[in-house]
Every structure is written in C-alpha cells, then in structure tokens.
Symmetry: C2
Subunit: 312 residues, 2 copies
C-alpha cells in the first residue's frame, strides 16, 4: 500500500483520526483553517523544516521518532520566547511510494510530543514530492508576559542553560559511524528531551535573552551576543562529561567538548539573567555576558566549528 493508493484525502482522514486535540484548539483539522485560542491577544509563531537526508534518516529513526523530533524543534522555539506552545501545523511532502503507515506513525510522534505541553496538531497539508519533507509551524501564548528576545543580554548577566548539551550530537556521531549504542546518546538524537516549561519559567524569573540551542551551543550563543551587542564567555568546567559520552568519545576519537559546545539538536534553552536572580532547576549557570563581541570559552577563542549551517 502506498500513499498514492489511498490518495490525499484518504491519508488526511487517516492521519487526523489519530490526532487528539488540546484545550487551545477551538476548531481542528478538516476546514480551510484551524481556530486556536490566543488568550493573550498576541500569538507567537515559528517554523522549522526537516528534510530527509539532512535532518533525519529513515534508517536511523523510526517515523514516530521523526515526529517527536520535528515537533520538539518547533515547540522549543516557542518555549525560547517565554511562551507556552498551543498548536502545531504540519506540511508533509512525501514520495508517492511511501507506506501510509509511516505518515500515520509520524503523526503519532508529532501528536505525542505536542501533548506533553498540552498542544496538538491542528492542521496541515500533504503533497507528493521526491523528497520526504516535514515543515512544522508552532504557535504559542505569552500569558501576558513580554517575549524574551535575543537582544536583551547585558554585560554582567549570567548565561544559563536548561536541558542537555552534546547528547544529540554524540548520538548523531555514533549513528554515523554505524553504531547503535550507547542507547542514551542515540535516543537523545532520535527524541530530544526539551525542558519546555523552563522557557516560560525563565520569562517569569526575568530572563533578559533566550534562545533554543538547535545549531550548536556556541553558535546559538553567538546569535544572542550579536543581537545584544555583547560578548559571551562560556566556562568549560560548567559541563560535566557524562560517563557514556566520555566512553563514546574515547572509542570514536572525538573530543567530547566538541559535542557539548558545538553540537546542536538537543534543543536545550539558553538564557541570560541579571546576576541577582537565583537560578532554580533545571537552569544552571554556564558562563557570563561580557563587554565586547563574540563567544569565547574560558576567555579564549574557540577554534573548532561552533555549529551547523544547513546549506553546508
């Protein structure tokens, strides 16, 4: 059975039947548009696209995993604005010979990840395409707070991280060398564990800037530094290298800090806070905002790659 066999509308019916709706959804799939509650009278919106061979591989990740990752990448962007995610819309382009079960399991993963924050997949579109592509738009509500943008970091502020750093990159390296373990790293690549609630929490705590770590920690802190007109210094000793990561790094001949400092795809949240703010779990200090420009590690330039460019 292929998606061509059951047709566009048949597949849409099958997929939407598997998508329970969240409390913010006033009108779900099946009409020209969905209607979502936006109690704040503002809505946060973000789009991220995943392309097969570039952002995922079907031999590395099950359809359900790809759904979790696609949702997480977008929900994390909403959290990084200090907002609470409410909804996802998904454009799915797929080869005509794709098994419809793959699309259904993708939808299961998207819906399950969204459900962890009370959101749901409220709409979307499907098309045949030679390249399996998943474009997701996430919406969120600010709950009366100001959005936490990238440009508010000031010298003296503390740089803090919520969530994991380097796990997904390590998992990617493990998979790319043909291994399937350590499981904790491979699973981190397949399904990032994003501390979504830490985003709105940071906004309430007075975070001055925030970003979702998707390109790589140093690269994403570079976006904050550039937008804020400041420098950022990261302390290497703020990061403990977990045992499995250390073992994998040794076995593969990789510096584990290249995963921690430059690996993306964990979708941790990085934020800056005034120094007086006491940081509650899961936030932990990893550096400081400085005068100047650019991102340094222990006061020195970092000479490895700092992140990921999706054209290179």
């Amino acid at each position: 059975m292929s998606v061509t066999g059951i047709g566009e509308f048949g597949l849409i019916d099958r997929v939407t039947a598997r998508l329970p709706q969240g409390a913010s959804c006033l009108l779900g799939p099946g009409d020209d548009g969905a209607v979502l509650a936006a109690p704040d009278a503002r809505v946060v919106a973000s789009t991220d696209v995943l392309v097969e061979g570039r952002h995922f591989r079907r031999d590395w990740s099950a359809a359900r995993d790809v759904g979790h990752r696609a949702a997480a990448a977008n929900l994390a962007d909403i959290a990084a604005m200090g907002a609470t995610p409410t909804a996802l819309l998904v454009a799915l382009c797929m080869p005509a010979d794709l098994d419809p079960a793959w699309a259904e399991e993708l939808a299961d993963g998207l819906g399950a990840e969204a459900a962890t924050v009370g959101a749901s997949v409220v709409g979307g579109d499907m098309s045949a395409s030679p390249t399996l592509t998943i474009a997701v738009t996430a919406l969120g509500d600010l709950g009366g707070r100001a959005p936490v943008v990238r440009s508010g970091a000031r010298p003296g502020h503390v740089v803090a991280l919520a969530g994991r750093s380097g796990y997904a990159a390590a998992g990617y390296t493990v998979l790319s060398r043909g291994f399937r373990t350590p499981k904790i790293l491979v699973e981190a690549y397949r399904r990032p564990e994003v501390p979504y609630a830490a985003g709105a929490h940071a906004a309430r705590l007075g975070a001055t800037a925030m970003i979702d770590v998707s390109d790589g920690l140093l690269a994403d802190l570079g976006h904050v530094a550039r937008a804020s007109g400041v420098g950022i210094d990261v302390r290497r000793d703020a990061f403990e290298v977990p045992r499995q990561m250390r073992d994998a790094a040794q076995a593969l001949g990789v510096d584990p800090y290249s995963w921690i400092l430059a690996g993306g795809d964990d979708h941790a949240l990085a934020a800056t806070f005034p120094p007086a703010v006491a940081l509650p779990d899961p936030w932990r200090a990893v550096g400081r905002v400085t005068e100047g420009a650019g991102v340094t590690v222990d006061g020195e330039a970092y000479d490895g790659p700092t992140g990921w460019d999706h054209f290179r």
Copy 2:
C-alpha cells in the same frame, strides 16, 4: 553564486531585509519566533505547501510569481474562514545550486501578495533540499465573528462564488501545451487574483459555509456538501465563458466548462447564504443547496474529473 556560497544565515539576512512588516507584526524575523497581534483572542491558522514540478515549474513562472501564488493559496484559506489575514511564515527548501536571487524574488512575491491584505512574512526557515519546496503557514484574525466553516450549508441556501473560476486551469493547460498566450489565462495561473475581502464580508453577511476553491469548484463544493450533509446543484449557465477562454478551449480541443467546473488554483471563494441575503459584488449566485448528497450540475451527475488529488 549559489545559496551554498552565501550560507543559510547570509541568505536569511538578505531575504528578511526585503520583507516590510505589517501592522499586526509585533516582532518580526530574527528571533526564535515572531509575535503577532491577535486582537480577537483567537487566531486562524492554515498551511499549504508547493512542490516544484507538482505545484509550479520554474520555466513557467518567475520566482516572484511563485511567491504570489504561494502566498495567495494560504491567504485565501484564511479569507475562506471569514477572517482577515495577518501574517505568513515560510519554510523554503532549495537545491544548493539555486541562485540566491531566485529566493529573494520569491520573498518579494510573497511579501507583495501579503501586503495587499496588510499582512507580512514574519518568519520562516530555510534548508537545502534536492526538491524546491515552499511550505507556507498563514495566520488571521476573526474580528469577533464566528468562523465560517464547511458544515453550515442547509437545503434552500444559495451557493455563491466570489472570484474567477477556470482561468488558472485554462492557463495551466495553455502552458502545458507549450503556449504562452492568451496572457489573461497564463497570468491567472501565475498569479491568482483572490477576492480576499469577500471572505470577511461574507461572514458579516451571514454566510453559512465557505471554502477556498483550490482543488476544483465541484470538488471543493463536494467538501462543503459532505461536511454539511447536503447536496449542491450548480447551474452551468451561471458561468459565462469569457472570449479568450472560449478561443483557447476551441484551439486546444477542450470543453471550457471542464476548466470552470473542475479547474482549481484560482482561489475563488465559494460560500452558501440563506436565500434572504442580497448578494453584493463580487458575490454571485451559481447554484443551490439541496436535500441529499453530492454535487450535481443542472440536476445531473457530472461525468468529468471534478478536481485534483495531489498524490495522483
């Protein structure tokens, strides 16, 4: 020069510099998410994807035309809910050897079409991909009105159309036979002329159901009939065949009513109204809601294809 040459962030900078922002945009491109005004405290959202070779061809349409069409397809969905469009988000997947000018001109077209309704491109994502793909999400505001869904048509209601029917399909046929004229048809395919304001107007007039004609008039009215549990009968004589369409149909050996009744991509709006409603321009009656099921033409089954399935 290729998109690989200037890189993801270079191209994002170039493109966003060309996108003026509308009044609803509180925070535009450059952060993890955009922030839009949603004064109604609800937001309408819809996603449509365009895939090269299936929804557009670069040898048939300039980049700017593709931008107009991609925006129109999504803005029309918002209008068909009775809402006013406020914003677009765009995920653009492109071959690494694409000329960055193509992406910039696409953005110009997206922005220009959005600007016709006071909306703007507030965010997006870019990735390399073997297949040029444009996934657009549109957002809109209901202005305190109930959304006009597909399920409200009742026997005795009038079926009305705002906008053109068959022009884009005729233009597509003309181009697929290797011709470039008549210009009015080819241009209608390249840049649909959507009566956006007629959507919110229909909601204020008391429209009971509404849909954007994208798959084909009879196919889309079929969606309304199914959702409403009614039949719909369309009068063939409600449609005058314009001279250029008649000439092109004759030259190409096509029944022009196959374009008018089954051609999609004009993004006209079709709606049903209680019979007491006086229909103002651009709305015009084209049929009636009946007891029963399915769509008929002059009381009889239509034996041609009624629309478009994107997997077939």
